[in-house]
C-alpha cells in the first residue's frame, strides 16, 4: 500500500498539478537554453534579439511562477492528505481551483507566446517583474490573477481539511507536514495582497485602456511587496522537503520538531516587510525604510542558518545510523547513490553558496556594486534555480512512485541528473556572478556596446561567455534526463504495491518538546500583518497621495 492506494482522489489531484508543472518546466527550461546561447552570442539563430525578451518573460513566468506554484500545490495536497489522514473535503471544490489555475496559466502563456507570432497584437514581453510602463496584453495580467486566486482557493482547501481534522482531534498538535503547509500559505496570503492590488487595481484597468497613465513607482513597490515573499513561497516547500523527507532519505530522523516550527514562523513574520531591498536604487522611497528592510532581510538569515544546522544535523544522524564516524568522514556514509537524496543534498549545498551572494545583495551599500547586473540572475539561479528546482526534481523521484504506484525507471539516468545539474549550475552561475562584477547588465539580448569593453576583475570575457553557454547546455541535458525519467516511469514503470519506502519516522526531538504557542496561527498571522503595516503603510500612503494615475509625479530623492 502506498499513497495512491490509500488516497486515490488526492493522488489524482497531485498528479494533475505535477503534469502542468512539468510541462511548464519543459517549455521554460528550453527558453533558458536559448537565452544562454543567445546572450553569450554563441548561437543566435533560434530567435531574433527582439524576441529574446518574450523568451525571457516566458522563462521567468513559466518557471518561477507556474512550475513552482503547481508543483507546490501537488506537494501540499500530498502532505496535507497524508498527515491529516483525510482525502480533500470536496472534490468539486478541489478541482475548481486546479482548473482555475490551469486556465489562468494557459491565458498568460498564450499572451507571452503571442510575441513569437509575427504581427500578433497579443504580446507580453514585460519580463517576470512586469514593471510599467512595459505593458502586456490584458490576457497576461488576467491569467496571472486567476492563478493567484486559484492558489488562494487551494490554501483555503487545506485550511478546510485542517479545521475538519481539528474538530475530530481537538487536543492534538498540528502534524508537522500540515504545519509547514499552513504557515507557508499564511505567508502567501499576506504577500499576495500587494500583487492583487497591483494587478487588479492598476495593471488590468491600464492594459484594458480604462486609464491611460500610471505612476511607475507604486506598482513597482506593490510588486516587491509580493516579490520577495514569493521567493520564500518557492523556498519553504523546499525546506518542507529538507525537514520532513530528507532526514529519512539520509537514513535518520529530523533533529528537532520545534526548530522546524520556529523557522516557518520567522519566515511568516519577515518575508514580506523586506521588499524594499529590491528597490535600493529606486528614487522616491526614503533611505530609512530601505534601511528597515535591510535589517529585516539580514534577520532572515537567522532561520536559514537554523535550517542549515537542523538539516545538516538530521543528515549527520542518518549517516551515523548508517555507520558513519569522525568529524567529516560520516559524509561519505550518506547514500550518494540514491537520486532523491543526492538532489536534495546538492540543492542544500548550492543554497548555502547562494547565501554568500545573497548577503551582498541584501546589503544596501554593496548591492549598488551589482545592482541590475547579471550577478543577480547568477544569484537566484543558485536559490530558486537550484535549491528549489533541484529539490523539486529530486523529490519527484520519491513522490512519483507513491502517486502512480509505479517504480522509478532508469535509475542510473536519475542518479546522473542531479550531479549534472550541480555541475552545470556551478559553471553558469559562477560566470554570471563574475560577469556581473565586470558590469555586464542583466535582461539584455546583446550585451555588447560600441567603443566600450567590459573589464573583468580577472579572466576574460570570452572565457565567461563560454562558461555560461556550456553550463546552460549541461543544465539542459540534465533537464532532459529528468523529464525522460519522469515520463518513462509514469507511463511504463513497473506496477507495485510498495514502489518506494514512504515511511517518515518521528523526529528525534519530537513535538512533545515543542511549546504550544508555536501552533497559535492567529497570533503569528496578526504579528505578520503588524510588521507589514509598519514597513509599508507610510510609504504606500505617500505614493498614493502623490497621485495613483499620474506618471508626472516627481520621484523624490531622500
Amino acid at each position: 500500500m502506498t499513497f495512491i492506494h490509500k488516497y486515490p482522489k488526492a493522488a489524482k489531484v497531485a498528479k494533475a498539478n505535477f503534469i502542468v508543472a512539468f510541462i511548464a518546466l519543459a517549455i521554460g527550461g528550453f527558453f533558458g537554453f536559448v537565452q544562454a546561447l543567445h546572450r553569450t552570442n554563441v548561437f543566435r539563430g533560434f530567435f531574433n534579439s527582439g524576441e529574446y525578451y518574450t523568451l525571457l518573460t516566458g522563462h521567468g513566468v513559466l518557471l518561477a511562477l507556474i512550475f513552482t506554484t503547481f508543483f507546490i500545490a501537488g506537494l501540499f495536497v500530498w502532505g496535507v492528505t497524508r498527515s491529516l489522514d483525510r482525502e480533500p473535503e470536496n472534490l468539486a471544490y478541489t478541482w475548481s481551483w486546479f482548473w482555475l489555475m490551469t486556465i489562468g496559466t494557459i491565458m498568460a502563456t498564450v499572451a507571452i507566446l503571442g510575441g513569437l507570432v509575427p504581427d500578433s497584437s497579443i504580446r507580453a514581453a514585460v519580463l517576470y517583474t512586469f514593471y510599467p510602463p512595459l505593458q502586456a496584453h490584458p490576457l497576461f495580467y488576467i491569467g496571472l490573477a486567476l492563478v493567484v486566486v486559484g492558489s488562494w482557493m487551494a490554501g483555503a482547501d487545506w485550511f478546510w481539511s485542517y479545521r475538519k481534522w481539528r474538530g475530530e482531534n481537538p487536543n492534538e498538535r498540528i502534524p508537522i507536514l500540515s504545519f509547514m503547509t499552513l504557515f507557508t500559505m499564511l505567508m502567501w496570503y499576506v504577500c499576495t495582497i500587494g500583487l492583487a492590488l497591483e494587478v487588479v487595481g492598476l495593471l488590468i484597468p491600464w492594459s484594458l485602456g480604462l486609464v491611460t497613465e500610471i505612476e511607475p513607482l507604486l506598482p513597482r513597490t506593490l510588486f516587491w511587496f509580493f516579490g520577495h515573499a514569493v521567493v520564500y513561497f518557492w523556498l519553504l516547500p523546499a525546506y518542507y522537503v529538507w525537514y520532513a523527507i530528507l532526514p529519512k532519505l539520509s537514513g535518520g530522523r529530523l533533529f528537532s520538531d520545534s526548530m522546524t516550527r520556529i523557522v516557518f514562523i520567522i519566515f511568516l513574520l519577515l518575508s514580506t516587510p523586506v521588499g524594499y531591498h529590491h528597490q535600493y536604487a529606486d528614487p522616491g522611497i526614503s533611505v530609512g525604510f530601505k534601511f528597515y528592510a535591510m535589517a529585516s532581510t539580514l534577520l532572515l538569515l537567522l532561520p536559514s542558518l537554523i535550517t542549515l544546522f537542523t538539516v545538516v544535523a538530521s543528515m549527520e544522524h542518518g549517516a551515523r545510523q548508517r555507520g558513519g564516524k569522525g568529524y567529516l568522514k560520516w559524509i561519505g556514509k550518506l547514500p550518494w547513490d540514491r537520486p532523491a537524496f543526492v538532489g536534495c543534498a546538492l540543492a542544500g549545498i548550492m543554497f548555502a553558496a547562494g547565501g554568500f551572494s545573497g548577503m551582498i545583495n541584501a546589503s544596501m551599500n554593496i548591492n549598488l556594486l551589482i545592482h541590475n547586473t547579471i550577478w543577480v540572475p547568477g544569484h537566484f539561479h543558485l536559490t530558486v534555480g537550484t535549491a528549489v528546482a533541484l529539490t523539486f526534481m529530486a523529490i519527484t523521484y520519491w513522490l512519483l512512485p507513491q502517486l502512480t504506484g509505479r517504480k522509478l525507471k532508469h535509475k542510473t539516468l536519475a542518479l546522473i541528473q542531479p550531479y549534472a545539474w550541480f555541475l552545470g549550475m556551478t559553471l553558469m552561475s559562477n560566470a554570471m556572478h563574475r560577469a556581473g562584477l565586470a558590469g555586464v547588465p542583466r535582461r539584455t539580448a546583446e550585451p555588447e556596446y560600441m567603443g566600450f569593453e567590459f573589464e573583468p576583475i580577472f579572466g576574460t570575457m570570452t572565457e565567461m561567455k563560454w562558461q555560461i553557454a556550456i553550463g546552460g547546455t549541461i543544465l539542459t541535458i540534465s533537464l532532459i534526463l529528468f523529464l525522460w525519467v519522469v515520463v518513462a516511469s509514469w507511463l511504463a514503470g513497473e506496477k507495485s504495491d510498495k514502489p518506494v519506502d514512504d515511511h517518515i519516522p518521528e523526529p528525534l526531538s519530537g513535538v512533545e518538546h515543542t511549546p504550544a504557542i508555536l501552533d497559535n496561527m492567529k497570533l503569528w498571522f496578526t504579528l505578520a500583518l503588524v510588521l507589514v503595516i509598519l514597513a509599508y503603510a507610510f510609504p504606500l500612503w505617500e505614493m498614493v497621495a502623490d497621485g495613483i494615475f499620474s506618471p508626472g509625479a516627481l520621484p523624490r530623492p531622500s
Binding site: W336, D337, L346, A353, K411, F422, T426, N430, I457
Partner: protein, 185 residues
C-alpha cells in the same frame, strides 16, 4: 527502498559522478576565490596606476572649463547639458568670453558636433542659436539629438578681429561626461 544493493558498477559510477559533479564545481569556486583575493589585495596598486593614466588620456572638457587658453581671447564653457523631456533629447551649450574688453571684436562659432553614434551635427543648423549678451560675449545654442545619443566632441572656432586682419583659430574639443537633466514641462 531500492531493493538492489549498490553493486560495483554503481559504486564506480558514483565515484565518477562525485569527482566530476562535485569536484569540478569545488575547484572552479576555489579558483575564483583565490583569483579575487589575489587581484584585489595583491595587485591593487598596479591596477589603480594603469587606470589613472587611462583616465587622463581620455579626459575631456566639461562645464566650467576654459577653451583657447593659450590664445589672447580665452572662452569659458558655462553650460553643457543634455536636457531630456518626454518628447526629445536636446543638447544645450553656452559659451562666454573671459575678457570683456576684447569681446566686440570676438566671434565664437560652433562649427559642428560629433555624436557618440559618429553622426555629425552642423553648428549653423541650430535653429535656436542666439546671442544672449554682448558684454561679455555670450552665446547659447540647442540641438535636437537623436534619442539616447550624446555629443562626444565639439569643433569650435573663434575669430578675433585685429586692426588690419582677422585671426581664426579652430579647436577640436573632446567632451567629458555630459550631465543629463530631466526637464519637467
Amino acid at each position: 527502498m531500492y531493493e538492489e544493493k549498490s553493486d560495483n558498477s554503481t559504486k564506480k559510477l558514483v565515484k565518477i559522478l562525485v569527482i566530476v559533479g562535485i569536484g569540478i564545481p569545488v575547484l572552479v569556486e576555489l579558483m575564483t576565490l583565490f583569483n579575487l583575493i589575489n587581484v584585489q589585495i595583491f595587485e591593487d596598486e598596479k591596477d589603480v596606476n594603469s587606470n589613472d593614466t587611462n583616465v587622463t588620456e581620455v579626459r575631456g572638457f566639461g562645464e566650467g572649463d576654459t577653451l583657447f587658453a593659450n590664445q589672447e581671447s580665452a572662452v569659458l564653457i558655462d553650460q553643457l547639458r543634455v536636457k531630456v523631456s518626454a518628447q526629445e533629447w536636446r543638447f544645450a551649450l553656452g559659451i562666454t568670453s573671459m575678457d570683456s574688453t576684447s569681446q566686440e571684436k570676438l566671434q565664437i562659432r560652433v562649427d559642428s558636433l560629433r555624436l557618440q553614434s559618429k553622426k555629425i551635427l552642423l553648428g549653423i543648423d541650430s535653429s535656436s542659436w542666439e546671442v544672449r549678451q554682448t558684454v561679455p560675449a555670450q552665446i547659447y545654442g540647442e540641438w535636437a539629438l537623436p534619442n539616447g545619443d550624446i555629443p562626444t566632441k565639439l569643433f569650435v572656432s573663434i575669430e578675433q578681429q585685429e586692426a588690419d586682419s582677422t585671426t581664426r583659430v579652430s579647436q577640436e574639443i573632446p567632451l567629458h561626461k555630459i550631465p543629463v537633466r530631466y526637464n519637467q514641462e
